[in-house]
């Protein structure tokens, strides 16, 4: 800037927006947020405004379920592909107890997390190196960011117990009992459906986690598993290609994440009482670049009407700073409930 004044340019030097944003991203965003009375972010949203997702399901031919989710300029494709794991190929020593399947129909919740997680019936993976962002160039191993992202998604899949093992089992009941012809034969486990969840980012503009999770949810809700049975003559598992016999997955609840980024403004000495920290909902890539503290709240309100009473907090992730305290967190949870309602509406095709 000294050079500019030395050449006798006008005293006030102004930059175009794009240059200002590139040269000084932090003051740029702060100037936007502290301008006038109402703070508008550089992307035109208010601090607490989320981007409404756009969801398209069933567009991939070779998937049992698929979804394309757009969150502003972030777009992601998720394909769910079901393959069969035969009983003899199951690694480890998991023993299937026949009685648990009968009780399950009555809504009694069984603890099947060991089954789903232990045998690895869900195989989620994420690919960022599709030219979706300049920082992930293909040809290298998955970056730390990609590995963190998929670990968070996998943990959420397992900790919410989203999938029921009973949906994935392939059972067989012999017509006659070889040991004792008078009694009914025992139900045997012949295999499992293994779900491959492949998440491909087409474009990333911030908040990859929310977009990826919404795409997983939408794809799982779209998934149709063919009716699979053990065929005595074929001595293997066969499927029926009739779509009337196929079944959908019954998911446990509908956990939806809301991600926030905390923007810490530069404090000026004279008015340090002023509030210069902002919590930005659903940050875009530019905002993620200047914010250190992030909060992710996963809530599920499917148990009842939208409201704090029926709310279940499924997960809270917070890192990078200490601006968000207990009271602020309560406010963020409230915002997450509103967000849940919006996303749920889009997922079920209401809006």
């Amino acid at each position: 800037m000294e050079m500019a004044t030395a050449t006798q340019t006008p005293p006030a030097l102004t930059f175009p927006r794009a240059v200002f944003a590139a040269v000084a991203p932090h003051p740029f965003l702060q100037a936007h947020l502290s301008a006038d009375k109402k703070s508008i972010r550089a992307n035109g949203r208010t601090a607490s405004e989320f981007r409404t997702p756009g969801i398209n399901t069933g567009s991939l031919t070779h998937c049992n379920g698929s979804a394309v989710v757009r969150l502003g300029n972030t777009s992601v494709v998720c394909g769910v592909r079901a393959e069969i794991l035969k009983e003899e190929d199951i690694a480890g020593t998991y023993a299937y107890a026949a009685h648990s399947a009968d009780q399950d129909e009555e809504g009694e919740e069984e603890d099947d997390s060991e089954e789903v997680e232990g045998i690895r019936l869900l195989v989620p993976n994420v690919e960022l190196a599709t030219g979706s962002t300049p920082s992930h160039i293909p040809g290298t191993a998955p970056t730390t960011y990609a590995q963190t992202l998929i670990t968070r998604l996998r943990n959420l899949l397992h900790s919410t117990c989203l999938l029921r093992a009973s949906n994935l089992r392939i059972l067989y009941k012999p017509s006659t009992n070889p040991e004792n012809p008078d009694t009914e034969a025992e139900t045997q486990l012949k295999g499992y459906w293994v779900l491959y969840l492949d998440i491909f980012f087409i474009s990333i503009d911030g908040n990859a986690f929310d977009a990826a999770w919404i795409s997983v949810l939408a794809a799982l809700r779209d998934t149709l598993l063919p009716h699979a049975y053990f065929d005595e003559e074929y001595e293997g598992i066969l499927c029926s290609d009739d779509s009337n016999e196929a079944h959908r997955l019954q998911l446990r609840g509908l956990p939806i994440p809301s991600t926030f980024a905390v923007f810490e403004g530069m404090r000026e000495d004279d008015d340090d009482e002023d509030d210069v920290d902002w919590v930005l909902s659903d940050p875009d890539a530019f905002e993620e670049g200047v914010c250190r503290e992030t909060v992710s709240v996963v809530v599920d309100c499917q148990g009842g009407k939208k409201g704090t009473r029926d709310l279940v907090i499924r997960r809270v992730e917070k890192s990078g700073g200490g601006v968000v305290g207990r009271e602020m967190m309560a406010g963020l949870v409230k915002m997450s409930i509103d967000r849940w309602g919006v996303v749920e509406g889009v997922l079920s095709g209401k809006t």
């Binding site: 301008a35 031919t61 394909g79 690895r120 690919e127 040809g139 293994v194 491959y196 063919p226 066969l238």
Partner: protein
Amino acid sequence: MAMNTDRRRNNAPSGGTGAPVFARTIREPEYLENLRPSRSRGPNELRRIFLQTSIIPSASGSAYLEIPSSSPATSSTLIPPTSSLKITASIQGPKPLPRSAPFSPTLLLTTTVKFAPFATRHRRGYIRDSAERDLGVHLETALRGVIIGERWPKSGVDVVVTILEGDEDGWWGDSTSEGSATGSGWGLLNVLAGCITVASAAITDAGIDCVDVVCGGVAAITRNTESRQDKELARVLDPCPAEHKEVVAACVVGYLASRDEITEIWMKGDVGSDPDGLVEGATHAAVGSLAVVKEVLLEALQTKFQGQLEGNEGGLKRKAQDVEMTG
């Protein structure tokens, strides 16, 4: 079937999994034949092409290409029908080469082609296989002849192509029952043609100087086994391998229409006495897709300028609200 474990990704169960087998396809051969798709287009008629540019804002240029399957989808069966072609291309750069790189007087082009795991009937892995690397080299050859590389010394550009859904090598029923789909890899030619077209649109979107717009096109010689004369060979443009019982030869070109030049050619199979006819057919197919590319690029340019004009008009009003930095 044990997959090699990749510690940076989530792996499948170590025992390995198999794709579902549908009972009716192995029990009832006539039901299987029922599902066989057939070509309803004329031999010189191309499939419809959908193209869109600037789908990735953070990339300097990008495009999405979709060629929907021409055979109607049946809702009665869960067996996936013939696939369509869905490809995205993203251009990162041109950007300066790292300091450690040796001097290059021209633009360094890097092309990466990757199939998504759900792109084909058989699930693919995340690590690039030889077919994908091969496609990458072919694509690079096709693009290298078009880009005016001398205008960007000491810089590099990444062309990343992701295939969300790829054409098949033949009808899936053939590979399980009789295995008459000889000389596989026909689908790759279609995929390459799509890659060339979509990458070319993305490069133009990125504003990289080119001598012309390169486009991909495929032609094939197919054998019609149903006809009376035993060896009835027919030349078709833009073949969908699943719709033909036997493909004898196929050819893909990267074609510059206004200069009448070919930057890339890949021919497979038993061409016979008239290889020129096949190449000519492929160029015709390329000209067909060029018409779409041109229209889309022109449209994108018009909206861009429209936006700029409006931006200039509203600029005065906007300026008052804009944040100014003084110094």
